[in-house]
Amino acid sequence: MNMLVAQQGMGVLQRLKLDGWLLVWVMLLIAGGLAVLFSASGGSGDVVLFQVSRLVIGLGLMLVLAQINPRFMIRATPWAYGAVMVLLALVLVMGEEGGGARRWLNLGIRFQPSEFAKLAVPLMVACMFHGSRERPGFVKTLLALLLIVAPAVLVSRQPDLGTTVVIGCFGFIALLLSGLNRKFIYGGAAVGVLAIPALWVSLRDYQRQRILSVLNPESDPLGAGYHIIQSKIAIGSGGAFGKGFMQSSQAQFGFLPEPTTDFIFAVISEEFGFVGVVVAMLLFIAITVRMLQIAFAAQWRYSRIVAASLALGFFFSFALNAAMTTGLLPVVGLPLPLVSVAGSANVTFLAGFGILMAIRSDRRYLAR
């Protein structure tokens, strides 16, 4: 009987071209995330409802993308990339301001185009290197770099340092996976190290202060260091088993800044303790592992590059947020994937899973 139900279930998933394991881990993460969000928002149904509405859009997009054949995807990639570039340019021209930055575009629905670039950039790189089995030469590498840097520069003008870094990372992961020549890797690394001073100079004052406050948050406990200190207090006071659901004093009483967005990881740590954080981590690892499985099993070069880039990029996004929240990295404002209130980011991650599922269906089709 149970077997029958399970088989029927598998049948439905297959028909919808959804990947069972990926779906299970993602839904578990979403469910847990909504619970944490409910607590972090102080029991606000409105916040949770908003999050659910964005997640439903994301899941719908995932379902649609899962149906698309990767061969069509390759052809659509340049167009999608172009569209994202146009949107990013539009943000700078007619974006909505908030908190000293221009990040949102309001075309009937309010969203952050910079998030879509996280998807468009690795897709574009994969598209470039799909056709040839040659190791990319200097010119082609330079062109690929340009395709990564162009949207990153546009995002950095908003300004949005965190997303700029993440877009760059997604692009470089794709570039490395495309078989980038080692000479370029080492050369690039050297240039990167040398570029740090130049980068430092180009940062805004508040961004520099954020970075310095990681080194010594106590130097300015009520200013730039406040976020990090309060976040560490939240995490540390959670202990091994946490204070319990809805018991985060740091978030409930307003000491922890941005508890529903950038610092929601601290809320998990405070309410569910070390055990809870490890469980959350395991969910992120499980999703990543499943994505890598799909990547490695894919037969197509494009599919492999895209799937592996998205898998590594997804985990990298999680790790960056966790590192910032625990005070290992400067706070630049990145969401915890699928948990933070960050509509555009969550829709983008879910869309990525849709692409992964499309790739998986395609592999099967080709393999058999």
Binding site: E134, G179, G236, S237, S249, S269, F274, L292, A319, T326
Partner: protein
């Protein structure tokens, strides 16, 4: 590992290999994260748990209830009223200046106070709530409640505020409290004022500050990040301050101030039997209630600029030539020292001249009083009699007499800032003048002192004390406002015994009778200077008028503005006690530039005695009046 082909082709294994490297890197990052989390959550848990608790729990001081002040009949004359104030915790406000600006814009704060508030926030203890506006009206409380969410770190706090129902009438006797100022904080120990919002400054509030204040309690308050209290746990109950019971009669005090009718001057009334101060009025005055809420600079400057000097406590600090009011005291000394017999007469022709001198000392009555004995000299206030007497007593005799009645030294009343007045002597003149020509004591100095002019000055309080001593036939008690202190813990009253500070020839019953009779003659005699007042009375009192010269009127005929001219008019003084035989009240009234002592001062004094005796008269007196 697989060997890499020499060709520049990308092998299918490349992606897997490179992805694996990256997974290793991410795995490493994950390990660092786990290490970090174990460090924070497992090793440092205790520290951060404490920090989280410290975030929410703050030790706060709980203000004690300041002791209330009651009058002699148990009526409240200084009360505590529940009120609200606006406080701000600087650490919880992002932009202090902007926040204050927005509060001012919302009409909740006075924009002028901004610099001061920024200064006091700089001096505040960490996470201490500083008051930014005391005494919020109900309307302001409601207005703030609407916009409260926009002002993190700003909150409304309930507290007990001082209230002075007597208003201006009680200002100089009772004093006032003001919010603890920056200077106060430097002067006091932090524990002394912790949790205390106001300090007593002058009057009884000032001199009994240590009794009234009480001591602060403490509580643990759980707050959120915006400082809003979520729960409280009392750790130490505050100790309320002691209540004070005054000798002041609330109604009489109010009536005295009303009777002064904003004229400059002072009224002091004393219960001669124990020195209890029944009335201590300095007019004009200020409203002490304004100081509780904190006065804006403009109003304060206005108070200090006012030429009538409402902040000046004339009753204990003001020094005036006593004029003829000291004649009964001098008369008594003359009798006891043998300078005069009661029936010995002096002829008064309207002026007096020292032998060998051309200087003429005029009597107030130009045509003269004729033959004067001691009784008539006091009753009719004959100046010539006392010019002559002063000359006979000499400066030493005058000085001794006046000192015996308490002039020249502070009375020791329990209100700060008392003046000593001046009882001049040869030594005093030597010490206080630099010009050798002026250091000499002249006979003329002695003569004018005989009618309470010249260098002699007294405070209204000293005058009332001396009259009380006359009333008590020689016994003098230290004047005091506070008669008893109520212990806040047990509720029991601790009465303070009266302090006798002088006894003057109580055995000279005859002399006392002569002097007192002469004072009765002032009011009730056929030619008494206050006979007009006496005619209106339905009780008998002993009194003495005084008209003291301010200074020589400029002699040139230049027209003076009326306002200036008014300030050159004589001071009107009147002293009295009643009932004549078992006196219960002695009073001194000064109306600056009020003209003759038989005028405004006598009117104020008789009105107050009338009121007081109506409520406190011995039965036989009431019977006589009916």
């Amino acid at each position: 590992m697989a060997t890499r082909p020499a060709s520049q082709h990308v092998e299918p294994g490349t992606l897997v290999r490179r992805a694996t490297y990256m997974v290793f890197l991410l795995g490493l990052l994950t390990c660092v994260l786990l290490a970090r989390l174990s460090y924070l959550q497992l090793i440092q848990h205790g520290y951060y748990a404490g920090q989280a608790l410290g975030n929410q729990v703050q030790a706060r001081k709980v203000a004690p209830r300041r002791g209330v002040i009651l009058d002699r009949n148990g009526e409240v004359i200084v009360a505590n009223r529940a009120g609200f104030r606006l406080t701000l915790v600087p650490e919880q406000v992002d932009d202090l200046s902007g926040t204050l600006e927005r509060l001012a814009h919302s009409g909740i704060l006075d924009a002028d106070t901004k610099p001061e508030l920024i200064e006091s926030s700089r001096r505040s203890q960490p996470f201490e709530a500083i008051p930014i506006r005391t005494r919020l009206s109900d309307e302001l409380v409601a207005r703030f409640a609407v916009v409260r969410h926009r002002f993190a770190g700003v909150d409304i706090e309930g507290l007990l505020l001082r209230e002075y129902p007597l208003g201006e009438a009680g200002a100089h006797g009772l004093g006032y409290v003001t919010a603890v100022s920056a200077e106060d904080k430097e002067r006091l120990e932090p524990e002394e004022y912790a949790g205390i919002s106001h300090l007593g400054k002058t009057g009884v509030e000032g001199s009994y500050e240590d009794y009234l204040r009480g001591s602060a309690g403490s509580e643990r308050v759980v707050t959120n990040a915006y400082g809003r209290p979520l729960s409280r746990t009392r750790e130490l109950e505050p100790e309320p301050g002691a209540d004070l019971l005054l000798a002041i009669d609330r109604n009489l005090q109010a009536e005295a101030y009303a009777a002064m009718d904003s004229r400059r001057g002072a009224v002091v009334a004393i219960d001669p039997r124990d020195g209890g101060v029944l009335v201590l009025v300095s007019s004009p005055a200020f409203d002490p209630n304004d100081f509780v809420a904190g006065m804006d600079r403009g109003a304060f400057a206005e108070l200090n600029r006012n030429t009538d000097r409402p902040m000046f406590n004339r009753a204990v600090r003001g020094t005036y030539p006593p004029g003829s009011t000291i004649k009964p005291m001098l008369a008594f000394s003359a009798l006891t020292a043998g300078h005069r017999e009661p029936d010995q007469t002096v002829n008064c022709w309207g002026s007096f001249r020292l032998p060998g001198s051309r200087r003429v000392f005029r009597d107030w009555k130009r045509e003269g009083h004729g033959a004067m004995n001691l009784h008539d000299a006091v009753a009719e206030s004959c100046d010539v009699y006392f010019y002559q007497l002063a000359r006979d007593m000499n400066v030493e005799g005058l000085h001794d007499s006046l000192v015996q009645f308490g002039f020249g030294t502070p009375t020791g009343v329990d209100v700060a800032g008392e003046s000593a007045g001046i009882v001049p002597s040869r030594a005093w003149k030597r010490a206080n003048f630099s010009d050798p020509a002026q250091q000499r004591w002249f006979q003329g100095d002695t003569v004018v002192a005989g009618i309470g002019q010249g260098y002699l000055t007294v405070t209204p309080l000293q005058l009332a004390q001396a009259v009380a001593q006359l009333a008590m036939r020689g016994r003098r008690y230290r004047p005091r406002l506070v008669e008893a202190i109520r212990d806040p813990a047990s509720g029991s009253l601790v009465r303070m015994p009266p302090v006798q500070t002088g006894t003057l020839a109580s055995e000279a019953v005859e002399h006392w009778r002569t002097v007192v009779d002469s004072m009765v003659g002032v009011v009730h005699g056929p030619r008494g200077t206050a006979r007009a007042t006496g005619a209106r009375l339905d009780f008998r009192m002993a009194g003495k008028t005084g008209t003291s010269q301010v200074r020589a009127m400029p002699q040139d005929d230049e027209e003076m503005p009326e306002e200036v001219e008014e300030r050159f008019r004589d001071h009107s003084l009147f002293v009295a006690f009643a009932p004549v035989h078992d006196p219960v009240i002695a009073i001194a009234v000064i109306v600056e530039n009020g003209g003759s002592g038989s005028g405004p001062a006598a009117e104020v004094a008789s009105r107050l005695l009338d009121t007081y005796l109506a409520g406190n008269a011995p039965p036989d007196l009431v019977a006589r009046a009916q």
